[in-house]
């Protein structure tokens, strides 16, 4: 039995048209377009955010939507949460939807934390006794006991996120919709959120989840859909969908200025699936028109915007290479999905980092990495004594 169904859903935004208008601007814009002397014949531009997207999420299933930035993931979630209406197709939802679309969604800045729990609980369809019953556990989860009567506008973004998530998850919705908002929270809260989501799924809640943190997608969800440019590229179990995502990243791998890149395993296969401890080869072309490169930095990430592991290559003086190749003999990574990033002549800060490709590490005895386990693994060996 499905809990959420997208049937050939499309969404188009009017670019420049939406927004707060004044009647005069509207009338004069219409007049300009009509009058024969006008040279302003710009048609209303439209941006397609979703196009013919169909998928079905079963009751009690954890379903992820993955894809690059601007692929329409958030739009899909906003439609599922009824915040915005589809432009085409039909969306069907069974049961009460709790949504955390972004930091502060459903949270009113002028209200205190306590008032927000009452208001958002009511918006999500809870009666007052139902809210009263859940109130303490929501406050406890958000860890906001001391700030409960302070207006939310004085909260830090992390506190706002904790409150928003605690309410959305605390009302025990039939369908929980969570967008990538979680990235704002500190690491400990992120793990608690993911555990809470997993708990809700175990007790029968349907989850629709969007995140760039592919490790958490793998840990929490069983099925996923890949969106690229508003179109559905793949649906299926998490492993195959993430595989399709990696293949897509690989095929569109492109570093600044038309250079190309390839991420392969030691045998030269692209889109590699590795075992823990396997090696990797990264090849990167350096277009000569950008001047001679002096250094190349590589970073490996798990979806967060920072490098877990890195390698810095300095071009020997006098050389003007057009291709850089980095051989990594062994990767100390646990199971999960990782991306390879590079920066040519990178400056300090986040200067010039681009994604080159991605790969997967699979551990034969463990399908998904537990949430508490960091991606970088120790090189180690256990010994067990019975006495």
């Amino acid at each position: 039995m499905w809990a959420l169904r997208f049937e050939a859903v499309g969404k188009t935004y009017r670019v420049g048209g939406a927004g707060y208008r004044s009647l005069r601007e509207d009338l004069s814009a219409r007049w300009r377009r009509r009058s024969p002397a006008s040279t302003d014949r710009r048609p209303l531009r439209r941006r397609v955010a979703l196009d013919d997207v169909s998928f079905e999420v079963d009751e009690g299933e954890a379903f992820a939507v993955v894809g690059p930035n601007g692929a329409g993931k958030s739009t899909a979630l906003r439609i599922a949460a009824r915040v915005t209406a589809p432009s085409a197709g039909v969306v069907r939802v069974r049961g009460r939807v709790g949504a955390l679309i972004e930091v502060g969604a459903g949270i009113h800045p002028e209200l205190s934390g306590r008032e927000n729990i009452w208001l958002y609980g009511a918006i999500l369809g809870l009666t007052r006794p139902e809210i009263r019953r859940r109130f303490d556990s929501i406050v406890a989860f958000a860890e906001l006991e001391s700030a409960l009567d302070v207006p939310v506008k004085r909260y830090s973004s992390g506190m706002q996120l904790r409150l928003g998530f605690a309410i959305a998850a605390g009302v025990e919705p039939d369908v929980l919709v969570v967008d990538e908002a979680l990235a704002v929270g500190d690491a400990r809260f992120q793990v608690r959120c993911l555990e809470r989501m997993a708990d809700l799924v175990r007790s029968g809640t349907t989850l629709l989840y969007v995140s760039h943190d592919l490790a958490s997608v793998e840990a929490v969800c069983r099925r996923a859909a890949l969106l690229v440019d508003g179109r559905l590229h793949a649906t299926g179990d998490v492993a195959s969908t993430l595989g399709a995502y990696l293949a897509w990243v690989e095929s569109s791998g492109d570093v600044a200025g038309g250079s190309t890149a390839a991420v392969t395993d030691l045998a030269g296969r692209t889109n590699p699936v590795l075992a823990p401890g396997d090696g990797l080869v990264v090849r990167l072309s350096l277009p000569p028109d950008r001047g001679a490169a002096t250094s190349v930095a590589l970073g490996i990430r798990d979806g967060h915007p920072w490098n877990l592991l890195g390698a810095l290559g300095t071009v020997p003086p006098g050389r003007e290479p057009v291709v850089a190749r980095c051989h990594i003999d062994s990767l100390p990574l646990s199971g999960g999905v990782y991306q390879v990033w590079a920066s040519v002549d990178g400056t300090e800060g986040d200067g010039g980092w681009r994604q080159l490709g991605a790969f997967r590490v699979e551990e034969p005895d463990r399908p998904a990495r537990p949430l508490w386990l960091p991606p970088v693994a120790l090189t180690h060996r256990w010994e067990w004594d019975d006495r």
Binding site: M1, Y13, A18, G19, Y20, R21, S22, L23, R24, D26, E59, R78, I79, A81, R82, V83, T84, A85, P86, S87, A88, G89, V90, V91, R92, V93, R94, G95, R96, V97, A99, I101, E102, G104, A105, G106, H108, P109, E110, L111, E115, W118, L119, Y120, A122, I123, G125, L126, T127, R128, D174
Partner: protein
């Protein structure tokens, strides 16, 4: 919970939902209306030093120039003193103007929530219409003290007071719903509204009794200005000690219901686009 018993929600492009579905969803969300109303009262008085005294200060302040400059022109033999009857109408008017003004701004003021969550979009508008009922209650409390001092007459017509308040709330809601949606679309509404409300005060029987309109024109007047019937009722039951004129009241309510039906239709048409507009 039995999974098959869960309510199925169908979301389709653009088209407005039916009035019936809107009503059902609004009823299911009555706690949301209440939460919005409680909230708006809290926010309004949280940082106001005089607090709810504002509710009685406004009609009293308006009464001073009215009584000073108009009493001699308007006072009629046999009627209750001008100050008593003007204050009665001012209390009703104070409610009406703040209900319409706040209701028209409700969606734009809730932009933060409208953009990110779903709830029946009527909820904040109706909450803004209902919240000032607290003030009208305080205003009537003021009248219980000041009315007799100003020479108001007591009568059994007072029992119809709740009906008259409800009639004013219906008039306010019928105008606030379309104005709130239009305000999201065109900011002109916000600029025009204070001026239009002021104009409305002058063409309503507040500073003068409805008898200033000719006998033949009075019914047409009550049709044209839906505030006229209920405000005239306020004056009759509070100051004159008589019963409200049901013909005038009926005429005003007919207009309010027609405007409200059309206005709500417009509201439902615009509602799905609101998150992209506010």
């Amino acid at each position: 919970m039995d999974p098959t018993a869960r309510h199925e929600l169908v979301l389709t492009p653009g088209a407005a939902i039916t009035a019936r579905r809107a009503g059902r969803e609004l009823w299911a969300a009555r706690d949301v209306v209440r939460a919005f109303a409680v909230r708006s009262l809290r926010i309004r008085y949280r940082q106001a030093a005089l607090g709810a005294l504002w509710a009685v200060a406004q009609p009293l302040a308006l009464l001073v120039p009215f009584a000073a400059f108009l009493a001699s022109d308007v006072d009629r033999p046999g009627a209750a003193p001008y100050a008593a009857s003007a204050l009665a109408a001012l209390i009703g008017w104070g409610y009406l103007s703040s209900a319409v003004t706040n209701g028209a701004g409700a969606l734009v003021n809730e932009a933060f929530l409208v953009r990110k969550t779903w709830f029946p979009r009527e909820a904040p508008v109706l909450a803004a219409v209902l919240a000032p009922l607290v003030e009208v209650t305080l205003g009537l409390g003021l009248y219980a003290v000041a009315g007799p001092l100003l020479g108001a007459r007591l009568g059994w017509g007072l029992v119809t007071l709740p009906l008259l308040v409800a009639a004013l709330a219906i008039v306010a809601a019928s105008l606030a719903l379309p104005l709130a949606a239009l305000n999201a679309l065109f900011r002109d509404v916000r600029h025009a509204l204070p001026f239009v409300v002021l104009l409305w005060l002058f063409v309503s029987p507040v500073a003068y009794p409805i008898e200033r309109v000719t006998d033949e024109g009075r019914l047409l007047y009550a049709f044209a200005n839906p505030a006229a019937g209920p405000l005239d009722g306020f004056r009759r039951v509070l100051a004159e000690g008589t019963w409200p004129d049901l013909t005038l009241l009926g005429a005003s309510m007919t207009t309010a219901l027609v405007v409200g039906t059309i206005g709500h239709r417009l509201f439902r048409r615009l509602a799905p686009t609101l998150p992209d507009l506010v």
